[in-house]
């Protein structure tokens, strides 16, 4: 484990060195570290942000000093507290509670699946085979970022990995489900984007009126279920 500054008001706890070798293990360790630090309520810590192999810790240096750190040792003082919390934990529980995967209904009609043909061509499969393969796999949320509520999902069958589009689209419709390289994800708010669109979900992935505002969080398991255009229209109402 390594702790490095991220400017003067944040730091990064590097829980693992690599991700792709053992993504589930790395993610479980990161989420366990996040929980430990959440429960520790360290002085001056404002919030935590997990991503792949790291936990970002945002803090107020003024409050850290008010809690006893010397002004010229704020980072060292907080890093030491973080190390204590992590080392004193009996064991960093690497297994996350087994929850059943969250079902995401997706309509793969041509109207929404603007890049399905490219994905199929790249994979050397037919469009329906792509959809079947995509729906047969189980995915895991590795990280939320890019835009509010955007899940980066691991678990894409390697055959379906498709390079990002050379020219990103200026506006991706809300709910678009897409493949970018070896990852897949869902656009929760209107934004530009360079991923290949495979379909669209009527589910709302980000709703600022709810707490938590995002449907998914890092660690969640996800499955996609194909729905008809009619079912999409009914659910989207």
């Amino acid at each position: 484990m390594e702790i490095v500054p991220l400017g003067d008001s944040a730091l990064i706890v590097r829980v693992r060195k690599n991700f792709d070798g053992a993504p589930d293990e790395a993610l479980n360790a990161v989420l366990a570290t996040q929980r430990l630090l959440e429960n520790a309520h360290l002085p001056g810590v404002i919030e935590l942000a997990p991503a792949y192999t790291t936990v970002g810790v945002f803090f107020d240096p003024v409050r850290v000093v008010a809690s006893g750190a010397k002004p010229d040792e704020v980072f060292e003082w907080l890093a030491e507290r973080i190390r204590e919390v992590i080392l004193n934990a009996n064991e960093v529980r690497a297994d996350r509670m087994e929850t059943s995967p969250i079902q995401i209904p997706v309509c793969y009609d041509a109207e929404f699946a603007l890049d399905l043909d490219e994905i199929a061509q790249h994979a050397g499969l037919g469009a329906q085979e792509v959809v079947d393969l995509y729906c047969a796999s189980e995915y895991r949320v590795h990280c939320i970022g890019f835009t509010p509520g955007f899940p980066f999902l691991g678990g894409l069958p390697s055959k379906l990995a498709t390079p990002r589009r050379s020219t990103p689209r200026k506006e991706i419709p809300v709910g678009s489900v897409a493949i970018g390289g070896a990852q897949t994800g869902i656009y929760p708010v209107q934004s530009p984007g360079g991923w290949n669109l495979i379909g669209r979900t009527p589910l709302r992935l980000f709703d600022p009126k709810k707490d938590p505002p995002a449907l998914l969080r890092a660690g969640d398991r996800v499955r996609f279920r194909a729905i008809s255009r009619d079912e999409f229209a009914r659910s989207a109402m």
């Binding site: 003067d8 010229d72 835009t147 600022p208």
Partner: protein
């Protein structure tokens, strides 16, 4: 009672000190790009320092007030007026029922913050009144102001009423905060930085160029970040960098070799090498950067950055105490 945006300005948004606790869901901090400036403006009108104000970019805003209010503004060098009266930066001023105020023409810098007694009382969304332009929520319907927008204001507090009564005759208070607080915009700004986690993975020439040369602010800059032209830095060939948290102040070097300085509306995670971070106290200067400005970066230690922040906080506390007699 409301304030009306008679003219909305180039890009005016409701902002408070930002939204915390939701980074793990991809929600940016947001808030006033110069949080210190908004805190000072709020204190000057008797508000809680976290009350929502308006962030004005390049001016063009004209506000009309439906009732008597205390107003103060801070930030860049702007021409602010109420009728024919010039409204100096950092001085609390009484705005009477039906009066208008406008803020025009940024001479230096590009942003100003307007605090009005009672605060802008838009709904709290995820713990903040700040406008999130990427997520389209918070502030006034999740967007920048439009002509004719009505903005609800909270009630004038007792302490504000006391100062309004004291200022009935002169209207504009004679006192103001320390000069460098109300004028953070610089003509040839130097931003102090501390090393980023990939600093050591750039070669010596690149690092020397970063701290030795001047960089020009590109027009392609906004509340998410400032892009720079100028000496192209040799992009680091770290293809395997895993995305991790970034923060306002982070300076990334993308493959183009042109630095990007992240500001309040930045994404929560990033995968570009981080060469450095602008220190928190200098985010006030960063918030004023506009296209064509020439900027230098100077390295300081992390301990320096913290000491500067703590000094500023102590000065603010002293200022807060010094204001007390005006409100009692």
């Amino acid at each position: 009672m409301n304030a009306t945006a008679v003219r909305a300005g180039f890009s005016t948004t409701v902002q408070d000190l930002g939204r915390t606790g939701f980074r793990q869901f991809g929600v940016s901090l947001g808030g006033a790009l110069d949080a210190h400036a908004l805190r000072v403006a709020n204190l000057l009108v008797g508000n809680n320092e976290s009350a929502a104000g308006l962030e004005v970019t390049f001016g063009g805003l004209q506000l009309r007030f439906a009732d008597e209010r205390l107003m103060a503004w801070s930030g860049g060098e702007f021409d602010a007026r109420s009728g024919s009266t010039s409204l100096p930066v950092g001085h609390p001023v009484v705005i009477r029922e039906g009066d208008e105020m406008g803020i025009e023409r940024a001479k230096t810098g590009c942003r100003a913050w307007i605090a009005v007694s009672g605060g802008f009382d838009v709904p709290v969304v995820l713990g903040s009144r700040s406008t999130d332009l990427r997520g389209n929520f918070g502030g006034k319907e999740g967007r920048a102001l439009r002509h004719g927008d009505e903005l609800p204001l909270g009630k004038n507090s007792e302490r504000t009423r006391i100062l309004i009564d004291k200022l009935q005759r002169e209207r504009i208070a004679r006192w103001k905060p320390p000069h460098d607080w109300s004028s953070p915009a610089k003509r040839e700004p130097t931003l102090r930085v501390i090393r980023g986690s990939e600093w050591n993975r750039f070669d010596n020439v690149t690092v020397q160029r970063f701290t030795g040369d001047k960089f020009t602010v590109s027009p392609d800059s906004d509340r998410m970040g400032v892009r720079f032209e100028g000496p192209r830095l040799k992009a680091n060939e770290l293809v395997d960098l895993i995305s991790e948290a970034v923060a306002p102040g982070t300076i990334q070097i993308p493959p183009s070799g042109k630095p990007i300085l992240l500001l309040g509306d930045c994404q929560t995670i990033g995968g570009y090498p981080k060469i450095a971070h602008v220190i928190t106290v200098d985010l006030s200067i960063a918030a004023q950067l506009r296209a064509g400005d020439e900027v230098r970066f100077r390295e300081v230690t992390l301990a320096d950055a913290h000491q500067l922040l703590i000094n500023r906080e102590q000065n603010l506390e002293q200022f807060r105490r010094g204001l007390q007699p005006h409100f009692s």
